[in-house]
Symmetry: D2
Subunit: 340 residues, 4 copies
């Protein structure tokens, strides 16, 4: 309440709170009175009280997420993706091209990343592009290429479902469905992804808070799908030395609040190849459960995001760096090679 709020204003707020079935707790201080509100199951709209006479401001104390929180489920969520059990000590390494450009390109790159030790193949069949004149992806043809390469290499695949029309097709051909950063608050898509029967890789939006990321996951989980991997991929700030600002502190922040695993995408944050390795190390050291890295064997010909794609040799170096780092932070990198 404001300093000059009179007692009838306080009483009025108490009445308004109670009329909504909630409980009001006025606390008289030396300078002003505060009113605690309890009893709400879901979220209280600050709107309802903020403009009553004498009210200075409405502060949210309780948090709006439920299912994704550690208060709801204290222990880490773990589940199997191929040979990797995400959410535990295992690091999940996903690698591949930004876009599926052809069967040959995808197979070549898949073999490169598999040989280097990646556990999962990434590749976009539907590409969200800022300009309508940029390459938009091969569409369903791209999904079929992914499925074929997956079968031939034994690598499970993750691919973005760009809209609700393609969720089912993506779920049919891929082992995990990606919701991209631009779609993090596309709620219809989140709900559909929650029903698709596949694990969901949910990327943080460019200007999403951690709370909003967790609430987006809540949409998926509320549909009965708890197999969610969050992904920090950089936020938009004034800093102009990288494409986006990798917010490594979001990783321990998420882990403190939520039981869900979280990986990092250093490629989109970096925007440039030469920053991918330091950002990868940085994310793993901060506690990330894995990495998703763009790799292309001919990046200068890539139809999208070539500048940030590692070459196969660069990816081999990156894997070596992560292998050295992992035990120092209590993590291990399952090896795949033996099983294929």
């Amino acid at each position: 309440m404001k300093m000059d709020a009179e007692s009838d204003m306080v009483e009025n707020v108490v009445r308004e709170v109670e009329e909504r079935g909630l409980k009001a707790h006025p606390i008289a201080g030396a300078q002003r009175t505060a009113i605690g509100i309890t009893g709400n199951i879901g979220v209280v709209e600050p709107a309802q009280f903020e403009n009553l006479p004498g009210v200075l401001e409405v502060l949210q104390v309780s948090h709006p997420y439920k299912l994704v929180s550690r208060e709801f489920k204290p222990e880490n969520t773990t589940f199997q993706i191929g040979k990797v059990k995400i959410g535990g000590p295992d690091l999940l390494i996903i690698a591949g091209p930004c876009s599926v450009e052809s069967y040959e390109q995808t197979l070549r790159i898949a073999n490169h990343v598999k040989d280097a030790g990646a556990h999962m193949l990434r590749g976009g069949a539907f590409k969200p592009r800022t300009s309508p004149y940029s390459f938009q992806g091969l569409g369903e043809e791209g999904l079929k290429i992914l499925a074929r390469v997956s079968q031939e290499t034994g690598l499970p695949v993750v691919t973005e479902a760009l809209d609700i029309d393609v969720v089912d097709a993506a779920a049919e051909h891929a082992d995990m469905i990606q919701i991209g950063a631009r779609n993090m608050q596309n709620y219809t898509l989140l709900k559909r992804a929650g029903q698709c029967g596949r694990p969901v890789l949910l990327k943080r939006g460019l200007s999403a808070t951690v709370t909003e990321l967790l609430l987006a996951a809540e949409y998926v989980m509320d549909q009965g799908n708890g197999q969610i991997v969050l992904c920090e991929r950089g936020i938009r700030t004034f800093a102009d030395h990288a494409r986006n600002t990798l917010d490594v502190a979001a990783i321990p922040a998420v882990k403190r609040i939520s039981h869900l695993p979280i990986i990092a995408d250093p490629s989109h944050a970096a925007g440039k190849r030469h920053k991918v390795a330091p950002l990868s190390r940085s994310a793993v050291a901060a506690g990330a459960d894995g990495l998703m890295v763009e790799v292309h064997d001919r990046p200068e010909e890539a139809l999208s995001d070539g500048a940030q794609a590692l070459r196969p040799a660069g990816f081999v170096e990156l894997m070596e760096a992560v292998r050295q780092l992992a035990p120092a932070v209590g993590r291990s990198i399952p090896t795949y090679a033996s099983s294929s």
Copy 2:
């Protein structure tokens, strides 16, 4: 090029440029060599050159938008929305509740805003909410309420199409389709909106640059729909005194580059009722072609965003303030009452 780039590196970049059917123009400076690239129709991926040996950075000089630019069409786009010809001296005032909650609520508020001089009714039937536990809108029932209230009051209506599944229904019941801030880069939705046969109100994303906003409009226009109204609604920054930071400079920035009209949504930027009037005046003074304002006659009971909704009396005051301001910036506010 870097300062220590050797001549064969320069020649190599020239060759790479020319292999892509483009033209390279090396310029030798005292300290370093720069290479201009011309001949590109669409967009050049910086990726293609950024990692060649000796290259320091790739700068984009040309702009990626075409149809929405004044270079393509120098004169303002104007079109009729109800009695208002947007894009010329007329200011378009859109007002109404955040959400359609019931027929009675919508009709009451519609009459209030019509009496005060608004030209168009807003109201959400499908609501994008950060939390899955918040009110999500009445859905198709809401669309029917809007259509009925529109017919009874004579006010045209605008409503958000939340996803591709509801574009057609929204286009059937409303006079203009809104693409919300969270969907500004939902490209499938933009394309569908471009085909729906209705004008499109395109809101700027929370972290979208002006270039990205214009490219989103390019997606719509590329489908043959040039009846687009852009909307500045505040961006996400560190500033914590308002919900978002209304970026009034985006208004003249858009007008300089593009022929499309642009309005402002002061309600979402403000987040609090008491800032709606100053932000409205501010946007009109900066050259906005109109305003979209949230009004509710019982904001403390509103199911969404009540704190930022003006009461009818507040809206009457706002209209009076805008009426005084308009001639001072060469604008007029068509009156509706007499004609209906």
Copy 3:
């Protein structure tokens, strides 16, 4: 408190609060317990409680500023600057070059802006420049030029005091001392400015919140100097279409909390000449008490910030636009010409 905090943890926090001479008010809710804290005169460091067992977070409810707040002094602060009484209906228009480059340049521009109706001359003698190799100002020589031009034209002057060593010299030669954006949290300088016996123009830092701006003013006022004019000059965001993002909503935000006048600097926010007029109109419409505008008669030769300087003809147009706008928002522009 956390949901699983036990009653002894609550008791422990209560004890810790009371040991600091404060009063604790536990409020038991359905899901968790909150503890209100009162009795603090100054600011409570959240640090003191945030890491106690069971504590979820510490929220600040009370505000840390005192002297600058409307709770302390409800009515607007007004004072005379030349013929203008700032803080009331009068708009204060300050104009002049970015840098004082010579006596002739300063006099020429001073006459231009005086003829157009400006009330005060601006001009930098000490320039804060990002690069050590940029022009750094004429120093004390510049102060003397300003004083001489002030005497000859009758225009009071404002100039930046770049550091504590030059506050007294600036106060001797100028009518108002400017604290620049980069120095908004240079506390030694703020204190010295509060002792200099001149009104202080305090610019908001590029990444300062409104609270931090007001606390910077509190430093000045705490030294006994209440003649402070705040200045919104744009904040740093991701938006790249202007040099900075003019945060017009900060104007009503400041006016609601504080009794101090606030003006806007559209030139630094715009960064480009063609945006100065719309931003000026926008700031006045939002409730600014005045404008500070950069004007140069030969901007292509200016030693700093030429791109954002209006030419004299552009400034005449701007004054005309502001004259039309002012009465529409209840403001007037005192005329000077007659009195000189």
Copy 4:
């Protein structure tokens, strides 16, 4: 140039460029003409050309820093701070309280951090505080305490020089002078620090770009002092889960451009104790040359920033974690204990 710029406009720009002693290189493209500018020794003000008729925009290609760049000095700058040679494989660990509160407190904490393996003691004698009512530091008394504790423990000390008046006193008592984030663009202070005869620890401003940080270092180096340690301490963004956003990518960005060492301050970025360890690991993994960490043995009684201070036991754990990590990224942590 704009698409519709005519040939005489191009010629005019060329003339304007050449009149300034620079060289113009027009490049005719299919759609528009670009003009390259070379021959500038220092920085070209875009201002000078941006408003000429037909000009679309002026892009900076060359970079404004000289002395701090790798183009000027390719190999890493290294120098000795106590037993640590910064800039090479050694990691420099600085630890201590936010503020010097008393001789006893400082000595106790110094012994704790020395036992745990820190190489240098930090502690503020002059504290920049957002509010004038917060504890402002012990001043010169604090400097003497630091010097005494340094002598007794053998740990070199670093302390902030808050303004030009105290640079000499700080340089007399401390082994390295810190320029705080709020003062990164206090150019008078930077110049004075460049003359003080001590190494300078330069913290990045909350909204400073990497270019601005390097130009601030250029101010110091231009005075003949090349012993500079840069410090990434988090930037201000919309993200609200931490006090500031640690921009780890700035570390490799600085290292690519500059030969100067850079360390990280995880404490200020985190704002909360529990994020200090993950951010420390993250920064070292990204390539930081060291860490500066706040440690307090009674954080709940700390006069400033207690919430982010590690307890001694927490610092021991942190050192252990960094010791495990260091070899995995090719770094070592010199041990001090043997020498004391």
